[in-house]
Symmetry: C2
Subunit: 329 residues, 2 copies
């Protein structure tokens, strides 16, 4: 049975789905929605579960709405695509806090607007716990999608920004929850923001796809140790990255110290940064840097693709294998 | 954290996703999957929740796997489309019965094979309860998808088969659960089958789309009283259907008697039959019947589209409004 408040929510979703959009043939209100594309569609789906993938005690509903989208948009960014359409499948508990979910939806809609995407349909059901499934459709740009499998020996390895920030933010929030008031969280706002409100690298992803210089790409959701290992595995290569080249925020050092955590561990192994890790065709590093300068972007060369298997970390004169040591969902 | 048994399940899903298919550019194993179509895509997504949308005490996991797909495939059938690709988003409880979910997946895969569809990706997460989200992508055939909005005054209203069967089956199973052994269920096997293992009308839907004779279509998931009302609402018309033209199985009469239920109520208002209700262009009834005879199919003319609003039932010489009186999920 649909209770009044759920009707309100569905009404709000339907209103958000109203209106036309390029490529949208049929929106919400029929058995299926219908979309057209000139080429192919990239599709990503992610499910977030209350108390497992997020903590409502510290995550404002609007920010969680934004993040629910960001996680999927980041998968589209990782293929170098342009996100276009979104479907929501919401499983809502009977004792649903309607204000919470309505504010969550506000965050979703804000993110949709920010990235010029349209909500086109979905499903709303009642269940025991809150389970939020988001599906995003995107279109490749440039010469097509960039896969994990395209890296070759001699390519260089790059990341789009600071690593470990979201992991640091999460640890800080967990300590604050256990011992309220024990930390002055405002000192580490950039880390908290990275966990609470990550931004997918959509524009950068498309610029890299259009550049023709990038051979493989993936977003960093489980930590560079795992996500670069996915590229290596798919490409049949190994990689060596330099510990002193890994970018991180100055706030991460002080947070790690206060938390009693190893900063290198956070940088390599913590998840949810939603930066991009990508490989650049051998000999094209300068061209990439020129392009990035033109676009006003900073990207960071952290290592190189090589023969063999596995991701290794160069530290002083030692090499240490770190493949798949990242956060496991 | 992923436990061993979940790894097995994910391995099984990955294996099912392996191999190439027409239009599949990139399957599971990258940030997104990628598909191409010559025209547009029809997309439908449905979420099923344990103890709300299904009862594991009487629903065999293989059959529930089949039904989880059937519900979505039926939405593609309702647009006259050909189903092509499927994504699964599974939220599985920690104390997951691995055998149950593995058998559920067997049912899903069987149904995929039966309708020549491919599993291309999805997501598996841990949660408090079992929540199964299925997304199906299909392609329109003939002159394109058939919407709910195309009915005109003078068109005739048809259904693809017996109504109320699944509702009757569900009521029988509920009584048997409350009072085990009180009924000889084998007497009503066709009703039980309609509830436990419904078949989407994929081939019929495509034949109707290709015929050019059908102006509006929808699948019957909430009962004809509600689903025909959707067509009327979207088309800006009314409809009058004849009580004595509504097809139902002979087993439904005896079941209704034993259950103390009104057979007309089951026919008009119970859900999950997954038959099609459609309107045929004025004057084209004979052509449709000829085509259906050629294809060896039975379809049933049950009424006509008319001016005004709402779905009315003609019964003796009286008219009774029945709009939106069907089963509410």
């Amino acid at each position: 049975m649909t209770c009044w408040s759920e009707r309100e929510l569905i009404h709000k979703i339907r209103q958000a789905c109203n209106g036309s959009a390029d490529g949208l043939v049929k929106g919400i209100g029929d058995d299926c929605c219908e979309v057209t594309a000139s080429g192919s569609w990239l599709i990503s789906t992610d499910t977030l579960v209350d108390s497992i993938h997020f903590d409502r005690s510290w995550h404002l509903p609007e920010l969680l709405g934004r993040k629910s989208l960001a996680v999927n948009l980041s998968d589209i960014a990782a293929m170098g695509g342009r996100p276009r359409f979104v479907l929501l499948s919401l499983c809502l508990p009977e004792d649903l806090d309607v204000e919470w979910i309505s504010r969550w939806l506000d965050g979703v809609l804000e993110m949709l607007q920010q990235f010029d995407c349209r909500l086109i349909g979905g499903d709303t059901v009642q269940g025991k716990g809150l389970v939020l499934t988001v599906t995003v459709l995107g279109e490749p740009v440039g010469n097509g999608a960039i896969y994990r499998s395209g890296a070759s020996v001699g390519d260089t390895v790059w990341v789009s920004g600071a690593l470990g920030s979201a992991g640091g933010g999460l640890e800080l929030l967990a300590v604050e929850k256990r011992n309220p008031g024990s930390l002055d969280l405002s000192r580490w706002q950039p880390l908290l923001d990275a966990h609470l409100d990550p931004l997918p690298c959509i524009d950068l992803g498309m610029e890299l796809a259009e550049s023709g210089l990038v051979t493989a790409m993936q977003d960093i959701s489980d930590g560079i140790a795992t996500d670069l290992a996915h590229i290596c595995q798919a490409s049949g290569t190994g990689a060596l990255i330099q510990v002193d080249q890994l970018p991180f925020l100055p706030e991460l050092s002080s947070a790690a110290e206060v938390l009693g955590l190893n900063v290198e561990d956070l940088i390599l192994r913590s998840g949810e940064d939603y930066q991009l890790v990508f490989t650049v065709r051998m000999g094209c590093e300068r061209e990439l840097l020129r392009l990035m300068e033109e676009k006003g972007r900073h990207v960071f060369q952290i290592g190189a693709v090589r023969h063999g298997q596995g991701v290794f970390l160069q530290k002083d004169s030692r090499e240490e294998e770190i493949s798949f040591q990242g956060y496991e969902h």
